[in-house]
């Protein structure tokens, strides 16, 4: 995704779809989610090997340590335990539960209660995963060791790194970690989602909302546009007038036609998309006054600004020499092993998996492939074939959704699209409703398959 040529960009656009941001855990981040709570009964007392041995009644044949318990890390831990009970699996994740990126836009728009979109890896202990509720602060990609926040080092035969993203401040004047709370993006989950929810609820008639969308690649490509759709739905219920401006750092986005036709039908004239070519990119903000400055020179006064910054792989991956010059982690798509360090696998949003979008569904799929690969390798068997799947829904309204899906293979270190497609432009209201139901059903399935929750 670093230097997408036109063809790849087209494929990405056709094949992309996600619901809200993938909340892959950022292990370099303290537990800040409102819903975060300590893991009730960590299985960490004593030696992990002893814990595993007691759980399986056999001595572990190998140890896999997984950094990050979001969709990628949790899925890998869970499936690996099922595939290879003789492998000890340790998952390092400070948050027992967190608000997931998928469906987080439904939360902030008041469509879903927090409990419906709050999940996490705590339940994985029940299937024999050793869940350590601490942050991983350092990864040694050569010795395959991880240092925990309490100073302990864990040794592993294989490392899986699924740390999610970090936001990249610096390219937008006036936007930094502190001021970002006044123009919250919520792309890392946590407190900013609560802030957004309250700020949306507090908007009054005639409000102007500015959503800043970043350049590619970033977590959850349709997230900013789904957010615009659902904020518009929430405001239209109680206001006569409002305006939503999407100030974009790029010239196209996933499912654009489907989104724009939906906006024209549901909220005619109220949602404006400003492409980069039209000077729409956010170049500066004054968080105190709510001013958003665009490349065109236009200054927007926002009652609520939600500025999603550019992104890169999480700090812990960068510090471990797993990223390239793009800031993301190059991997061999046949199993998502890092191309920089053997025996280290990078999953989820942190990995370069072009043309697969950075979605929770894709993270789950990558993690499944990786679990099969690890189980085979550690048992001395041949690797499985590569198939990866993405399916993502975006809500246009509580009762309308659009989707994209794709199946991918890999050859020669490249990922190829085997099939893909998206919702029909002319689909009926019944089909849109059906897809909205499916969005929640698929979300439930994804949660079950990732967290056993």
């Amino acid at each position: 995704m670093r230097s997408a040529d036109a063809g790849r960009r087209r494929v990405l656009i056709a094949g992309v779809a996600v619901i809200g941001a993938n909340a892959a855990a950022s292990s370099s981040r303290p537990a800040t989610a409102p819903a975060a709570e300590p893991v009730a009964a960590p299985v960490t007392a004593g030696s992990p090997r002893a814990a595993m041995a007691s759980a399986t009644s056999i001595a572990p044949t190998a140890r896999v340590v997984i950094v990050g318990g979001g969709f990628a890390g949790a899925t890998c831990a869970r499936l690996l335990r099922q595939l290879a009970p003789s492998i000890a699996v340790t998952l390092i994740e400070p948050r027992a539960r967190f608000i997931t990126g998928p469906m987080s836009n439904a939360l902030i728009a008041g469509i879903a209660p927090a409990a419906a979109v709050t999940h996490g890896p705590a339940a994985l202990a029940a299937v024999g995963v050793e869940v350590i509720p601490l942050a991983a602060v350092e990864i040694d990609p050569v010795a395959h060791r991880v240092r925990l926040a309490d100073g302990r080092w864990l040794d592993a035969d294989r490392l899986v790194v699924a740390p999610g993203i970090a936001v990249r401040f610096g390219s937008i004047d006036g936007l930094d970690a502190a001021s970002s709370d006044r123009m919250p993006h919520g792309w890392l989950g946590g407190d900013q989602l609560g802030l957004l929810q309250r700020r949306i609820a507090d908007l009054r008639d005639g409000a102007t909302v500015v959503i800043g969308a970043p350049q590619n690649p970033y977590r959850c490509p349709p997230g900013p546009y789904e957010r615009a759709s659902l904020i518009a739905w929430a405001l239209a219920r109680r206001m006569k007038q409002f305006r939503i401006v999407i100030a974009d750092g790029k010239d196209d986005f996933t499912k654009r036609r489907l989104f724009q036709l939906g906006w024209d039908r549901l909220h005619p004239g109220r949602i404006e998309w400003l492409a980069r070519a039209a000077g729409g990119e956010v170049v500066g903000v004054d968080a105190a006054s709510g001013e958003v400055r665009l490349a065109s020179g236009e200054r927007l006064r926002a009652d609520l600004a939600s500025i999603v910054p550019p992104q890169r792989a999480a700090d812990v991956a960068a510090a471990a020499d797993l990223v390239d010059a793009s800031g993301w982690c190059p991997v061999d798509p046949a199993g998502f092993e890092s191309t920089r360090h053997a025996g280290v696998y990078v999953l989820g949003d942190a990995a370069i998996a072009q043309p697969i979008p950075k979605s929770a569904f894709a993270a789950n799929s990558q993690a499944k492939l990786c679990a099969f690969v690890l189980a085979a390798e550690l048992a001395g068997r041949p690797r499985p074939g590569t198939r990866l799947v993405n399916t993502c829904y975006s809500l246009l309204a509580p009762d309308e959704a659009i989707s994209v899906s794709a199946v991918y293979g890999a050859a020669g270190g490249q990922i190829n699209v085997i099939s893909d497609g998206q919702s029909e432009v002319a689909a009926s209201a019944g089909t849109r409703l059906h897809e909205a139901r499916s969005a929640w059903a698929v979300y439930a399935g994804l949660i079950a398959e990732s967290f056993g929750d």
Binding site: R387, L388, S419, E449
Partner: protein, 179 residues
């Protein structure tokens, strides 16, 4: 691959062997293919278990698969509950076990997880059923549905896009992958 298959068997109860279409009463040959095509269309339209991926083509109220699993299964020819699957020799394609099959099957479960007895089904603000539990569908119905989805983009929303990535061997093997 053998090892990975054993591993998958532990996860999703995949069988290396199962019932071929002919054992389920579907005829072979050209006439059989015509009948099969009709059966596939019928399956795609009437298969309530896949209702969650079907646009409302007709004003028919589909049974709720979660609320009435028995009703669903009773509509299924050779219902898994009514007729235990007899062991049968694997076809060459099934015996070959494409190396990608376990990974493919695992991806199916991302939307169609096995529903445990304590399944909660998740938040469903719009009501409606969850997606079908593939382990409750007889192989012949899975195969019929996948072929129908692959044949027509109008047979569903998400599934036709995915089924186009499957070859005949994939479909034959996936039909037996969830039991």
């Amino acid at each position: 691959m053998g090892g990975a298959d054993v591993g998958l068997a532990g996860v999703i109860g995949m069988r290396g062997r199962g019932v071929r279409a002919s054992r389920c009463g579907l005829p072979a040959g050209a006439a059989g293919r015509a009948l099969l095509a009709l059966a596939l269309l019928t399956a795609a339209l009437a298969l309530p278990a896949f209702a969650a991926d079907l646009p409302p083509l007709q004003p028919v109220t589909l049974p709720d698969p979660v609320a009435t699993p028995r009703a669903v299964l009773s509509l299924v020819a050779g219902s898994a509950e009514a007729e235990p699957i007899a062991p049968a020799a694997p076809t060459p394609a099934q015996a070959e076990h494409p190396a990608r099959l376990p990974v493919l099957a695992a991806n199916c479960l991302s939307c169609h997880p096995k529903l445990g007895t304590k399944s909660r089904g998740g938040f469903a603000p719009l009501g409606g059923a969850g997606l079908v539990d593939l382990s409750r569908l007889p192989p012949v119905r899975i195969e019929a549905a996948l072929r129908a989805f692959r044949a027509s983009p109008r047979a569903g929303t998400v599934m036709p896009r995915i089924a186009r990535a499957l070859d005949d061997d994939d479909i034959a093997a996936l039909a037996h992958a969830f039991r």
